[in-house]
Amino acid sequence: MKVKVLSRNPDDYVRETKLDIQRVPRNYDPSLHPFEVSREYTRALNATKLERVFAKPFLASLDGHRDGVNCLAKHTTNLSTLFSGSCDGEVKVWNLTKRECVRTLQAHEGFVRGMVVRYCGTSFFTVGDDKTIKQWKIEAPAYGEEEEPLNTILGKTVFTGLDHHRKEGVFATCGQQVDVWDEQRSSPIRSFTWGVDSFSAVRFNPVETELLASCASDRSIVLYDMREPAPLKKVIMTMRSNTVCWNPMEAYYFTCSNEDYNLYTYDMRYLDKPITVHMDHVSAVLDLDYSPTGKEFVSASFDKTIRIFPKDGGHSREVYHTKRMQHVICIKWSADNKYILSGSDEMNIRLWKANAAEKLGVLAPRERQAANYSQKLKEKYQHHPQIKRIANHRHLPKIIYHQTREQRVMKEARRKKERNVRKHSRPGTVPVVSEKEKHVVTVVK
């Protein structure tokens, strides 16, 4: 008689340590798993729901300023240090991990207009309404020492913006003209004017470090090359741009925040029309900052919200707001791509998570794998109506919600009118102008 006995190698099913996962032998034959799609759909739905449950982006509020926060600066080499300048000329240095102010100094009389940390992280510059540029040490003065700037430059006019070169001791200011300064000299090495009397912001390109962009009050964005005696080009838009920011990973893209509630991403080589128009804000956009990965940017608006846009997406993926947050004046994305810092009118600096539902801190490998998997599931099923509905739902303050609706109505009405005009006029006389082309008036060479 034949006796059949099951014999298995214990290596196949016994785990080495009790910390290991139980090994589950599994047959992956698809014919044995007929309901894989529906099962994954359920998982995706659950993941989406959980994401919304865990989406708590607001981390902390740093209070201490006695006036509205007008400018922020990230430390270039230290993640936990933040600089903020307020409208009363006070500069505060914050320790983000402890969430406390570590140093306060009266930098200027009047507004602190701009602030930037030197590339090496040893000193920082401020400009103010008192027509001075001041350089300060990062370290607080020792006991008994007086708080004194390392260097002070007296300018002829008010400076409204400031940025530092990424690799050299050169910085740029803007006011009535755009000046490029050598740190060692008290007069600018280059001074650019192009028929306008005031600039609101200037930024160095972090990749092609000799290029600059600035926003002027004649509704234009002007590009410069530090090495050239003359500016490069400017594009005039229908409304004024408030700030401009270069993509830190893609040399020729920059985005500007505009008074007409939109943000525009341009390719600096082709200024005649923006690459993307980012819409969603319902009031002027005051500031923006790119994420260090260059994939997204965050914008601060007069409508008291912060929005996160994908760099090539027309609409925001996230909106942050709190009841107490007033007009957001300045915003920064932290250098580790994890946090967002916003300074607003009501004297507070707020710390947000860049990904609202992300778990902070170190993840266990299995935890990370689970997170990755659920992320992929959400991506895969993002077009399914139920999942889309849940994933895209955001709460908005009543005012903003109504304003959004109002604007939608207005836009629709305008479109309708345009359509009617086109319908009742000779073909070809009223051309179709795309949204991108609408906002550019002209490009000046």
Binding site: T76, E208, L223, D225, P229, T293, N337, Y381, K445
Partner: protein, 833 residues
Amino acid sequence: MAKVSKKKVSRKSVRKSSTVTEKIAEVKPDVVYDDGDDEFLSKEDGNISSEEEEEEEDGKDGKDERKRQKLLEAISALGGKRQKKLGERSEAAVLMSEFTVNAEGEGDKIDLSDLIGSMEKTSAVPAKTKKQLKNLQHTNKTIECPLSKQESERIQRDVAFRKASTEVTRWKDIIKQNQRAEQLVFPLDKEPTGPRPMERMVTGWKAQTPLEQEIFALLSANKQPINDPILTPAEEASMRAMSLEEAKIRRAELQKARALQSYYEAKTRRERKIKSKKYHKVQNKAKRKEFLKKFEEMVKTDPAAALEELSKIELARMQERMSLKHQNSGKWAKSKVIMAKYDEGARKAMQQQLEVNKELTQKLVTSLNKEEEEEEAVDEEVLPDFVNDAEQRLDSSNPWMRGKLSEDPAEKELSENMDLITEGPGAVGNPAEEEEDEEEVVETEEETLLREFDSRRKWRQAHEEMEEKEPQVPEQEEEEGPQVPEQEEEEGPQVPEQEEEEGPQAPEQEEEEEPQVPEQEEEEEPQVPEQEEEEEPQVPEQEEEELSAIGEGIADSSGEAEMPEGAADSCHTNPSAQLEEGLLRIRTLEDMELLSQQEPAPDEAPAEPPATDKPPSVTPQADKTRKRKRGIELKEVLTKETKVIKVPLAPTIEDTEDTEDKLDQRGLIKEAFAGDDVVSDFLKDKRKQEDAAKPQVVDLTLPGWGEWGGTNLKPSRNKRRRFRIKTAPPPPRRDQCLPSIIVSEKRNSSISLHQVNSLPFPFQNHAQFESTIRAPLGRTWNTEQTVRKISKPKVVTQLGAIIEPMSREELMKDKKQVSTGSTSHVDSWKRKR
């Protein structure tokens, strides 16, 4: 300015031209960038000639004083009378030269002709310049006025912008690459993980723990390398030991060997590539011949080596026998089988293949074993061909089983098949062979009896199995019932009554079998071997049907019905078909034909006398033939016979043992579910659904319109016909051909809530989108590695690491890659040329 230039003109014409261009350059930025020689000179043409006017112009807007002075000079010059020269500035005077030094002939006017005159004398000036200067004398153009400030600035900006944009465009590749990347890990300039070269590790590291220190001490004591672990001192010494000449000689040797090898390789490769079969045939033949010759020689000279060779040959033969080569079981053979019916060539080819097999499995008779079996060999020569034939026929019956009844049934089954084969030709066979078979005749009679029993038993088993497998086929059973009472007794309680009412599903196939079944039953007692032969193939046939019926279910049974018919036909048409050993099944006519071809094959091939087997025989010479017959012919017993291609359905006789168990289980199940008829319920349900799905006729007739209305009045038929709307028949149901399935084609609103109702953006068509949805991501359906790969996030950032903006080094890296790529490309291009 003009003055200066004039002075320079007076000294050096060539130099002057350059200064002029400088001036132009200041005015026109365009020229700065394109400094081609031609343009350079053409500009120059106008300038030099208009030198004087220019000078005067400049003077005008200069100081009036000087102008007046000049005018005076000019007037005085016109007068022809030389004025007194201006003195040096030594004291206050009204008329005083601006310059301290007075030159000879200062007030004189200089013509271009003067200069040219001097130029011709100097040989240093090139002829081209001379010519150009001469041309200048005649031209009379004015210089263009400089651009306005705005204009020039604009040009400057434009140029600068273009420069900047080209500079920025260099990043395009990297940006594209990053956008397309499946995963980006930030910070970008991270040190590559993974093993680093040992040298780098060791240099910046010191032994700290006592163990490490010990190890290092040991290493240094034994002169092992620590920092540069390429060669130990000993190795290096040995390297040094080989002298240059030695090395050279060695290298030459190696080179030669390599060259020879490569020649040989090339040659063999070329030979192998020759496709001609004939060539290879001839080649092989020649080889064989040569080998035989050699072998012959070897036998004489070196018997030990010859023996070895012989064993090798034997081994080859064994391998051939073991392998499936030349057994007509490959793809080629299968294709030939299909062709064989129509194609004479294919038949022949198969035949040939078989011959080759025979040939290769032949035993080699050599002079070595001749010594042992000389007598045999002699006899062999004497014996006629038919002896071999007979022998083969006889050997085909299993010699082990002769005259023994106490055997395993399984073995008997095997043997019985063999016997059957022998019987056919046995009747026809040659008389000589019958004489030799006298002994066996008795035994075969016994065997036939046994065989009969066995076959009957098998048939019954098969029949039972069939019955229990087809509970929905009561018709057949009803009819069979009276004819096969024993079977009914066995199954009596298990056959449910309701089955009788079921009609549509019953396959016709059973009806066809009917006539055969009773026939068999009737003939049970008087067994005739010829009949047996006919029956024998049918039994497995039936079994097969059953098995296939199990596999394919009720639905396919109707389609299957043709199969046994064909098989039965083939049996009847070829009654003399020689069955082969093993579990051979004849299914189609083609199979039959194939068999008829293979039949003569064994006759043609002469069987070889066993060279090795030495059964204890008292009178080897006299009994030789007998002995051969009785002895175990390994070839007949073990060799895998050339077989006809098997059809995937392979019912095995071994299964019959299990069937009883199955029967029990099935019986149990039947008993348990005796009350409910699931199948018919299902069918009713399906029919109901089908009816519901059929379009209804819509009757729109209204009484009274165009006719009299009122009670008890019906609209006319004509009218009714006119207003009756028949909708077009719906497309065929998807489950039309699937008898055991109901496919609902209605849209479910509760599901549609979760379905995507429009094609999402990046997808081009529905199929694309569906395919992405269909592929599962989870580890329930994928292996660990796959899951990890699939669920890789697009952007990975490190906790607490500062992500610096892209730096220029990235560009450099990219460029390096590109340049290496391009150089390699160029190289390949060069090589092509």
